[in-house]
Structures are given as C-alpha cells and as structure tokens.
Symmetry: none
Subunit: 218 residues, 4 copies
Amino acid sequence: MTDTSHARPLPEYLIRRYHGWKATSYEENKGWYKRLADEGQRPRAMVISCCDSRVHVTSIFGADQGEFFIHRNIANLVPPYEPDGKQHGTSAAVEYAVTALKVAHLIVLGHSSCGGVQGCYEMCEGRAPELEETSSFVGRWMDILRPQHGGLPEGDDPTRLRALEKRAILASIDNLMTFPFVASAVENGSLTLHGAWNDISTGALEVWDPADREFLPV
Amino acid sequence: MTDTSHARPLPEYLIRRYHGWKATSYEENKGWYKRLADEGQRPRAMVISCCDSRVHVTSIFGADQGEFFIHRNIANLVPPYEPDGKQHGTSAAVEYAVTALKVAHLIVLGHSSCGGVQGCYEMCEGRAPELEETSSFVGRWMDILRPQHGGLPEGDDPTRLRALEKRAILASIDNLMTFPFVASAVENGSLTLHGAWNDISTGALEVWDPADREFLPV
Amino acid sequence: MTDTSHARPLPEYLIRRYHGWKATSYEENKGWYKRLADEGQRPRAMVISCCDSRVHVTSIFGADQGEFFIHRNIANLVPPYEPDGKQHGTSAAVEYAVTALKVAHLIVLGHSSCGGVQGCYEMCEGRAPELEETSSFVGRWMDILRPQHGGLPEGDDPTRLRALEKRAILASIDNLMTFPFVASAVENGSLTLHGAWNDISTGALEVWDPADREFLPV
Amino acid sequence: MTDTSHARPLPEYLIRRYHGWKATSYEENKGWYKRLADEGQRPRAMVISCCDSRVHVTSIFGADQGEFFIHRNIANLVPPYEPDGKQHGTSAAVEYAVTALKVAHLIVLGHSSCGGVQGCYEMCEGRAPELEETSSFVGRWMDILRPQHGGLPEGDDPTRLRALEKRAILASIDNLMTFPFVASAVENGSLTLHGAWNDISTGALEVWDPADREFLPV
C-alpha cells in the first residue's frame, strides 16, 4: 500500500488556470476530447524531445490534443536496442508508439543550450568527475551520447558543444534503427524518421538533410 | 560516425506551421526566449506525465516557455531509486530537476484511458501474455506498477482500471521519496510533491488530498 | 530619526487573512518563494496599470509571484523622458525594469471608468478649476495626458472619455519610446511594448493593434 | 497625435489566460464588477508597496476586486509634501485616495531583498557611483530614502540593509504626515496609517508597533 502523506494540494495559481482552461479550451473542444477518450488516441507522429522548459513541442508545430505522442527525457536520447528484461522507459515509449499506435513519423527534436549535452561534454573533457560516479543518474544516462564525443571536430567549446547537440539527434536516430520493429516499419514505408534542432534564442529550426548530410534551416 | 541515411525531411505541414509560429509567437516573445537562452531556464515546477497525445500539460495549466520542466513517459511512472550504474532516464530527469534546477514543485499528472496502465492491468489479469515476455519493453516498464495490482478493490474492470491509474500516481510519488535528494528537498521544505489525475473525456482534474487520502476534484 | 507615533497596528481582519495565506498559499509554495528570495526575481514582464481597486492585474493574466514587475499609478501614465535630477517615480520603475531586470514585455494596461482620466477630461473641458491649481497633485499629474485632449473626436462625453482612456495608453507608449534605454531595447528586439484596455463592467479586454491602428477585442 | 507603431499584440499565453479568467472569475463575479463599474470604487484601504514581482499584495491580504487602492513604486517610498506644480505620481495617488476616495487605512508595505533599497544602500556607501548621476532615475528616486542611511545601526551589510528596508517604511509614513490632507484625516480619526514588512523567503509579516517602537511579527 502506498504512503503518500508527503503529497500536497496543487498551488492555487495552477488550479485557477486549470479552471480557466476547463471553461474555455476544454469547453470549446469537448466533442473532440470525448471522441479521443471514447475511440482512443490516433496520433500521426511521435516526438522525442528534451525535458527542458524552453522547448515547446506543441507550440512550434501548432499541434493540438491528439496529434503528437510525446516522450521527453534529458537530451532527447534513445538508447540502443537492449531487450534484457530491465526497465527502459524510452524504449517502451518507442515500442508503444510504433507497434501499438503505428505512428507515421518519429521526430527527434534537439535544441540549443542543452544542459544534458553540456554535462556529457564536460564529463568527456574530464571536467565533471561527479558525473562519472556510478550513482549519477544524469552521468549514466549521458553515457548513451558518450561515443559521439570522440568524433567531434576541432574547435572551441561552444562549437564542439553545438556539434554534440546535433550528434545526439543523429545517434538517437541510429539507435532507433537498431530496434527491429522500427527498422521494419521504416523499411516497409509505414514510418519515417526525422531529426530536427531548435535554436532557443533565434527560434531557428534546422532539419537533418540526408542528401547533404547536414542540418539545414527550413 | 553515425549513419543516418534513413532520416527524412520533415513533412511539409509541420514546416508550414513552424514558419507560422516563428512569424507570430516567436516574434512576439523573442526578447524572453533570448533571455531564457542567455541566462538559462529557471522552471518553477517539474511535471511528470504520460506520452499520451491527449494530455496537454502546458494547456491545462496555462504555462508558457520556461515554466515547466516536463518528463513524459508511458503511464507517468517513476521507478524506485536504484543507483546501479545502468541507464535510468526517468531517474536522470528527476535528478536534474531537483538537484540542478532546484524546482519547487514536482507534479505527477496521470490521466484516464491510459493505454500503459491498461496494458499492465491486462498483464496482471493474465490476459496479455505477450507483455510478459522478456523482450517486451512496455511490459517490463509496466512492472514498476505491477505491485499495485494486488491491492485493487473488487469491482468491474473499468472501476479497477481507474483505481490502477490513480495508484500509478501514488506509487510514483512513493518511489520519488526513495530518492535521497528528493526526500531531503521535501523534508527541508524546498520541494513539494503533488499528484493529479485528468479525465480526458470530461476535462475534470482531481488532486490527491493527503488529509482525506483520496483524489478530490478541484 | 523618524517619528512614527501615528502608525497603528493593522486591522484585525487583515491579520486574520494574512495568517490564512501563510498557512495555505505560502506553505504550499514556500520552496518557490525561498528561491525567489535567494536568487532574486526574474519577471518576464512589467505591467504599468492604474491604482484603481477594480483592476486586478495578476488575476486577469493568471500570474503568480515572480511573473510581473508591477508599477501602479493614477491612470497608468508614463511621463516623457526628463533626466533633470528630480524625482520621477514612474521613470525610475521603468529604468529598473528595463535596465536591471531586463523584462521582455512592457504592458500598459488601462481601464474603463478611470477617475484620473475623468479628472483630466473635466479639467480640459473647463469644469474642474480645482484641478488647475498648482497645489493639485492629481491635476499636475494629469497634465501628462493633457495634450491628448485636443485631438479627441467629436461626440458626447462618455464617448470622448473612453477615447481619452485609450489615448492615455498610447501616449504612455509613445512616452516610453522617448527613454533611450527603452528605445534601444525595443530596437534590438529584447523588449516589446503592448497596450491593453480592460472594461471593468463587461470584463472585455482590448489590445492595441498596430496594423489596424485601433484597439481590438482579443 | 500618437505614433504607436512599436506596440505589439499581447503574447498568446496571456490572451489564453485572460480568456480563462473571463470565463471563470469574471463570470462568477460579474454582478459585483458591474456594480463596481456603475457606482464607482469604494476601497477601504490604500496600499503603497514595491513594484517587485515577489510582492503579492492582494494574495497576502486575501483581497479581491474593489478592496485596495494600490500604488506600487520602487521601494514603496512616499516623498515629502512638495506642491511645486511639478509631476509627483506618488503624491497624486495619495491625494486621490485620501481626498476623493476617503480610504480608511493607508498601509505602507515593505519587503525583504528590495533591490531599490539595496541600490540606495550601495550608493550611500560609495559603491554605486552610477546611481549618483543626474540621469539615474533610480538613484534620484532613492534620494528620498537617503537621509535614513545616516542613522543606521552599526553592523554587517545584511543587518544594515534590513534596517534600511524598515526605515523606508517609517520614512514614508513620516512623509505622509507632511501632507496637510493626510495629517488632518489622521487627526480627525477618519484615516489610520500602518507600516508592515514582508519577508519574501519565510513569509513572515512584521507590523510597526508604535508603543514598542519596533516592527513585531503578527
């Protein structure tokens, strides 16, 4: 039995805002929300993005309820396929989106000034020993990105950091292809993979171009 | 080096919507976005919610860029503290939010018609052998919730399912308290935990009341 | 040394309400309030509104502690830039918000039935000689708005009064642009200016539309 | 004629929240708001507080539309009575509240971590030459508080800063008594003055006790 004596009521300002949403957005769309509840969701795309508060997936893409199945973790990473019976939250989300919901697009959305990528960079440069510890969840999670540090171009830290942010996207796409159900969906044409990177400051969006093999502004 | 020959350009409809966002929302708020990029995020709260496309965390709470650090996984689950050096994406997100960003609130937001919770329920009722397989990422992820099935009240399936959805929230809050940095932040008053459940169909929001030990509509 | 023998204890009803706030809102949000105290405020917007008791800036915009830097004076007026070494409370507030806090938005919020604007109107129509006196602080303060009276459209008093309320907002925005630090922040895109008018009776909100050159309901 | 080509539409998130307020708080109270519009405001108290985003006057005192006439400026200062025909925004607000609205209470509400008071302190200690410049609106505004620096107790900076925050409240009350209309209203018993100080971090409220001649927690 759970012991949740530590849970507290929501802050009032959020309750007030919720009531505002309920009386407007919900009220105006309740027919659609009821259908979504009765018939289940049928999202067209899955988006994997960072938890960062500055990334607003639905705003950027003008998406409303029912459109995107969204998984958000630190640094928008996908680990390689590893069916070892342990708990893999990201893999579970991908599996559910591709095999149960059969989404048509899977978008990995990275962003500038990513604290997780920066942590990985500092760790790989030997400047963040605390992230090397076994007990560091962030450090161990960023191990997924670690192999990408070796191939970074020469340059100053900001340049290399940005390059690593973009490699986080590409590495995730590569890792996605190691999942048999992803690879087969891509191969039979029912799923397409996409990599995009958002500059928080300028609002720019760059998308991976497989022909030119670089990220290009849209 | 990565091999991302499978990545494709974004669907045109998303690029069009992005350009619309850039010319309007971004343009009206660029001073704020630039500051968020320059000075870093300082979100007041972390929200852990489901990936489900019908859950719109920011809409429900009228939140804009910079307000919420959002982790989304299947069924808004938090596993227990397990610093074994393996990859724990949810634990990494919680660690980053609490120790680096020092969020003041951590809200676990569940919802009705949760496919992940339903999968767990079917599995525990013996009706989903495929989820029992070692290779099922969803099944293994939902093992986090499994212990809650035992204590469900008698009743029909919908009643028990809804109860399990709410137990997923409470179990996550309990598991959060097994993380030393969460427990100490709660104990010293710098962090409060909150559990809430949203009914997709009716738009209702229920919040866990620690005094009455039940979810009550706000 | 000050002589404050005239100060009195707070009315009991306010003390009771304060204790209620302390035991509820404060208690639920103390982690956030402590962070705001330790790390300083970082408000996204400054709002300049009237002192009128019927204008509730934070309620209308669902804002909580830390979101808005709020200056309130009679009739939400901003005087022109005048760095003469005298005391200019409004100019000081604008200077602090723009140069020290670097707010991203500056919203001038006017309202219906504004007593200050009405006083200015009566004064300009020759019906309030007491406001013309040198010793009238309200009269001299409303001199800021006086130049706008000349260009009012023909019509009955209520129509012209409402027009003058809206001109108070626009004149303040124009005056804001005479402050070099405001103009340069607007020009480099780090600050945007906004004009809005709230109808106390109907609750309507109208926002200045620079394209149509009029206030339009949102 | 005004030229407001620089004004921009409001950010979307504020418009959404406004619509939420309109559909809930406004709708539930429209009878009262309509009366407030038709019959005019009749606030019981005037509050003079700081613009600081962390000070929520209405929350702390559980006040709703129509209760408080609120003037907010940097550091909640009131200048001395100076009827020189120039623009004095604070004096105009006090004059309107006391002579036109006839408020029964006038509360000067200070707070901890006040940036304006800190600026004054640094200036008086010779550590902020930029605030001494004629063109510094904040510096000239804080000149109102300057005379209080001389009598500060010995001690470290934080202790002296806190003392100066409280003297800002007392000096304002003293200055209020230099206004003939305030002094006569106090003397005939129709107005009482109050000084209070809020600790942002702990939520504590201290009120000036004229008997003990110190600020005491309520």
